[in-house]
Amino acid sequence: MSAFLIANIAPIMFLGLIVFLLLGFPVSFALAALGLSFGLLGIQLGLLNEALFQALPERIFGIMSNDTLLAVPFFTFMGLILERSGMAEDLLDTIGQLFGPIRGGLAYAVVFVGALLAATTGVVAASVISMGLISLPIMLRYGYDRRLATGVIAASGTLAQIIPPSLVLIVLADQLGRSVGDMYAGAILPGLVLTGFYAIYVLGKTIVHPDAAPALPPEARPLRGWKLAGRVVFVLIPPLALIFLVLGTIFLGVATPTEGGAMGATGALVLALINRRLTWSLLRQAMNSTAKLTTFVVFILVGATVFSLTFRGVNGDLWIEHLLTSLPGGKIGFLIVVNLLTFFLAFFLDFFELAFIIVPLLAPVADKLGIDLIWFGVLLGVNMQTSFMHPPFGYALFYLRSVAPSREYVDKILRRPVQGITTGQIYWGAVPFVVIQVIMVAIVIGFPGLVTGNLEKANFDPSKVKIELPQEAPAEQIEESAPPDFSAPKK
């Protein structure tokens, strides 16, 4: 019995992981408990050193002082505040009127605004909910195909995952041991191409089925001519200013992503203040949600750290590495298997779990096979984006369901009943976009230049920051605050 255990403890542990996660108890605690119990078992069997867990407090301390993860609450807070300051609403309203006269105009507006919101906030929930609340009723009013309407909203909302300053990219950069700035630079072009694909899909749909997305009638477009042009410029200023403040400073190498996040969050507060929408209740809600999101995200990382401490102790990483390197087809075989694996796991896990549990196991293998880790990260990022759109468990679909009318209602303007949206329509609406996502994964594999081509130009150079600093801040501290050096311990 114990001989069998000793020989197979890593696979057994991995199997245990799947069973325990599917049980439905909070992931972070299940992971940590699994790590601890197998650790104690390993010590009993003589596989592990008794001092194994003495390293644990230091690991947790490493997570606490991780400068990269600090960006997670900043961008979350920024997204929540921006959402509430009405920026999304103004954008959708105005851009919708701009594109209104053409067929599929509202759908293009959603794609475009989705990308803009993505570049300012990086929070899927906020994008999907506001676009669902604002544009879905208008699309239904003017006879949009329901699947197209819901699909385009859910998919455009998930752009926040791949267009910087996305939380996924921060977490991936941390887990891959690369700088967030590089990750951002690598993801920007694929993110834009993806946005283009969504728009092309809408175009194709309007050509094949002109009724699916009719143009808006003139009475639905009160703004015209110069008035509209002025309004467009006006609503575009706040998001563009924030994009510059956050992404511009990061790409220019002036700010670290953490600092960019803090500046962006402050900028969002200022914007809300100017719009007179900053209330105590809004502020408290945003802090409350940010605190809870940060807690559950970091706790998954704590759980995953405990798990991997034991898993590596029993050479589980070598087992995984052996499995993956012995695949036929070398690099390509590895990439295909990893992408299939991620795609299917994305049905059950969301990206935090994927990033903290699966990515640390894959990264060393990818590195050994000579795969560029930034490219690998972006590839996984595009793939994981599907985890938000997969019926039936995609989060974007949940968010959309929560704001889409489920029963028949009377439209205020047309004064006639409009049918509600069924869950099936939301699910089928997402399918074409999941397919687009898969195509995009293939394109990123086929044309790595999309990702790596940007890296030289926009390299964030930590050494530059060091020089600008005065004597009173000694070098080792500054190094700590540069993104790559402070990532969570991984060995």
């Binding site: 644990l56 400068d67 609450p73 803090a262 807690t295 704001v403 600093l469 000694p474």
Partner: protein
């Protein structure tokens, strides 16, 4: 059981208060970090103490809010399978999880991290960077956070068992936050 339920209410109350107090650290953290970035580039000044304060606050948020997040049932679950089960079965899974996963894990980490704090306290450990902060408050956050988490786990266990025995209504429903989304929707409706 009544005494235990009273204890559970006390724990819930304490963690709710602590959570609501600690989430202000999010705002402080944003302002401190933005201030650091500004002073670094505009005034060409940087202070290690202020830089370290950023992550002290960050650590404070996620450790001290762990019990609060558990109270509001927002630690992420994979409910693909469990959502198909009856409510009672889900509660049984929670009881099992709290007894075999959460409590042993958090008590064990608390026990591991306490000596580390004591060591920092007695030795007066200070950050390795010049002008850095004293370390014991950060070291204390770990056992304190896991203590709050254990306490909340215990409270959740009491409530789950009381629910299974038919003494109280579903505890999860009561602490469900209206959440930002709902508030948002209500506000929009109001504005129209």
């Amino acid at each position: 059981m009544n005494g235990l339920l009273a204890l559970s209410r006390a724990i819930d109350f304490a963690n709710e208060r602590i959570g609501r107090l600690v989430y202000w650290c999010v705002l402080v953290m944003v302002l401190v970090s933005a201030g650091n970035a500004t002073s670094r580039y505009a005034l060409n000044m940087a202070s290690n103490a202020w830089l370290e304060l950023q992550w002290y606050l960050f650590a404070g948020v996620f450790l001290l809010c762990s019990g609060y997040t558990l109270l509001h049932n927002e630690h992420i679950r994979i409910d693909v399978v469990s959502s198909q089960l009856s409510r009672r079965a889900q509660v049984w899974i929670d009881v099992f999880g709290i007894v075999f996963f959460l409590l042993p894990m958090s008590l064990f980490i608390m026990w591991l991290s306490w000596p580390v704090f004591m060591n920092a306290w007695t030795s007066g450990e200070i950050s390795g960077s010049a002008g850095g902060l004293i370390r014991w408050p950060a070291r204390l956050l770990v056992p304190a956070g896991f203590f709050l988490l254990s306490a909340q786990g215990f409270s959740e266990l009491i409530k789950r068992i009381a629910y299974l025995r038919g003494l109280i209504p579903d505890p999860v429903e009561r602490h469900k936050d209206p959440g930002l989304d709902v508030v948002l929707e209500v506000e929009r409706e109001g504005r129209k």
